[in-house]
Symmetry: C2
Subunit: 414 residues, 2 copies
């Protein structure tokens, strides 16, 4: 049986325990939702003041050049690159994940249509985050094409579903609900063997698990910066395109920021040769600038160290749940094998919603996802082993006292 | 001849002079570029701290509900509505102007294609801000349709160009370069007489001139919040759809924020019935929240008062330029008649670029636009009549001493 002392010892031996000090976490809260909204780097508050009072307030319009506002999407992309196996100048931070999904999907379909016009399948998972599916639906409905959207029901069926008719495969590496991690390397290789292109959504993996886009020969990728990357609520997303596709990378959102010479004010769109062709319009500078505060913390460690701690945290959580909460109503839906696990762990329970509410009332913040899923994120940058202990202990108490029943009633009547 | 004393008197009699105190303007700067990036409301710095330290840092994920983050696009839209002749719940603040142009254009073309499939012309101005043209080009190229983009060369030719073959008219009310203001009412009426739909880009008019979208029976509109609305660098844009079109308003950027039930995690996109169907993905909350700081200042005055002062400022500038800078090389390209003038004034000059640089070196910030245009914005919320005097006096000195020649050389060699 694991003890609280074991957890205290694990924290004492944690080589990156000190990084927690760089986050402004509230007292009396155990935050297990960094996979939804990452915690606030302390430096973000000062950075915001610098951008607002100095760059905007005092230097005004000049800051587009002097403060490098116009270059921010590229500069942040360069900082992010090593975390996802990309090279500098291969990605930009811009717009939202949904918008970037649209750009990559449109570009990938066009590349494929020129080479393999017979390929009409777009393969994704039915359990993918809904916006990934919606963006496919939105684009294909608009094209009035005969594309077929293949919603694969289980990950085991993915390989068989990616066949010679497949144009594009759009997958989220770590599933937002189950925490299951797909094998990017083998799925990309299989897709390529079928002459299909891959778009990887890294929302739940970047900053949590090592990602090697170039090593996997992935084609395109997108992701958000507000989860494990701690960029701030709704912070702009990123978009990556493999160098070999860049010259052919075209999308309908051809705004002036993607122009070869944006300030020459020409009346014809000519895309720049660089990854900045993935940009569209003017970017929200204050939110964008704060992404840097999150990325800078990653420069003080490396993804291998973070992954090791992440697995230790999720292993601990699963083990403690087994030992402390032996309820037959709890079903682990996150894989036990490390290769298939991201950095969050989910359990189904018939009373998942009121259970999560009861935990939140005790300062333990996880979240609920339809249907009947309790989801707990373990951000290795700031989650302590003792946090895991206390979270499970609280859940045990709630289950044993059935304190969550009160919430179930509340939920029904309000 | 107008004197400095006249300007001092005008400021003394200005009923909204006190509003300038709400902006953090730098000392020793005369800021005549609020039409490009509006000045910083003092309240924005504190609002950012509240969002970052309290809402993000302390309340974390809970702030999506408790701080109203998810509702921000709607709440800000309601605040903005009265400035542009819209009703609450008719617009949302979201994404960039370019992205919103794409949504409106896609939706308008689809509405028209169903009713009038023969209409294939999209009419805009060659002198429109380039991204407006680029977004038309991007969308139509993608549709592989036979749409014809009509780039009208002069505003006088606009009415004739909008004919029975016209599907959509996309116009910017106040031209970013010349400051010329189009007659939204008559152009919209003419477009409707031809069964064409209108999309109005309000980037250079919202907050500067009275806009009456519903009074003009406009169809759709977009605009940015970082110019006269003082929302912050690159702050999210807005999108407005006339109520009569809302049920038919569909666009390909069908992300989860536009879903009828975004948290039910369905695998099929069903748009919400409200204007929130114009939303796509997660929004940059910090930048979005600061838009409120700019909009709150407008609640202390009204657009009629602002327009009166704006015209007085631009009248003064033109008059002083005539009196103080009688150079034959200066050509006013902004209309003298009030009905056709926005809130900025532009002159062409063969040495426009070095002249603007020389002014900036003296703390007078206007800007340069290709080709050979000096552009000066007069934001009625914070520009003083004496600012206009000192700006013209400085330009006079620069012209008389030919101090700008030095900049011309510098510009060439660096």
């Amino acid at each position: 049986m694991i003890t609280l002392n074991d957890c205290i010892n694990s924290d004492a031996q944690d080589p990156i325990a000190r990084l927690r000090d760089q986050f402004a976490l509230p007292d009396n809260v155990i935050y297990l939702d960094g996979n939804s909204l990452g915690a606030q780097p302390k430096s973000a508050a000062m950075r915001a003041q610098q951008v607002i009072q100095q760059e905007w307030g005092q230097n005004l319009i000049r800051s587009w050049n002097t403060a490098g506002w116009f270059d921010l999407p590229s500069r942040l992309g360069d900082l992010l690159a090593p975390l996802i196996g990309a090279r500098p100048a291969e990605l930009v931070v811009t717009d939202s994940t949904s918008i970037n999904l649209f750009k990559t999907l449109a570009a990938a379909l066009q590349i494929q249509a020129k080479k393999y016009p017979h390929k009409k399948k777009i393969v994704t998972e039915r359990q993918n985050f809904p916006t990934d599916i919606y963006m496919i639906q939105g684009l294909t409905a608009w094209l009035e094409s005969d594309y077929e959207i293949v919603l694969v029901d289980t990950t085991e069926q993915l390989t068989a579903a990616i066949d010679t008719e497949t144009a594009v495969v759009l997958l989220t590496q770590v599933n937002y609900r189950s925490g299951e991690m797909l094998d990017m390397h083998s799925l990309t290789a299989h897709a390529h063997a079928q002459q299909a292109l891959t778009i990887w959504d890294l929302c739940h993996s970047a900053g949590a698990v090592p990602v090697d886009l170039n090593g996997c020969k992935a084609d395109m990728a997108v992701g958000c910066t507000y989860k494990y990357l701690n960029g701030g609520p709704g912070a702009p997303a990123y978009i990556w395109v493999a160098e070999r596709h860049l010259a052919d990378f075209a999308h309908p959102l051809s705004g002036w920021w993607g122009h070869a010479t944006p300030f020459s004010m020409q009346d014809t769109f000519t895309p720049t040769a660089t990854i900045r062709r993935a940009l569209c319009g003017t970017q929200p500078v204050v939110s964008l600038a704060l992404v840097e505060s999150g990325l800078q913390i990653f420069q003080q460690t490396d993804m291998a160290t973070l992954r090791k701690k992440s697995l230790a945290l999720t292993d601990l959580f699963i083990q403690l749940m087994t030992e402390q909460c032996p309820s037959n109503d709890l079903t682990l839906i996150t894989p036990r094998n490390h290769e298939a696990r991201g950095s969050h762990v989910s359990y189904m329970h018939p009373h998942a919603y009121p259970l999560v509410q009861a935990l939140i009332q005790r300062g333990i913040i996880g979240d609920y996802r339809e249907p009947s899923v309790m989801r707990f994120g373990f951000t290795p940058l700031y989650t302590r082993f003792v946090d895991v202990w206390h979270a499970v202990a609280a859940l045990r108490t709630i289950l044993e006292t059935q304190a969550y029943q009160l919430n179930a009633v509340r939920h029904t009547v309000t």
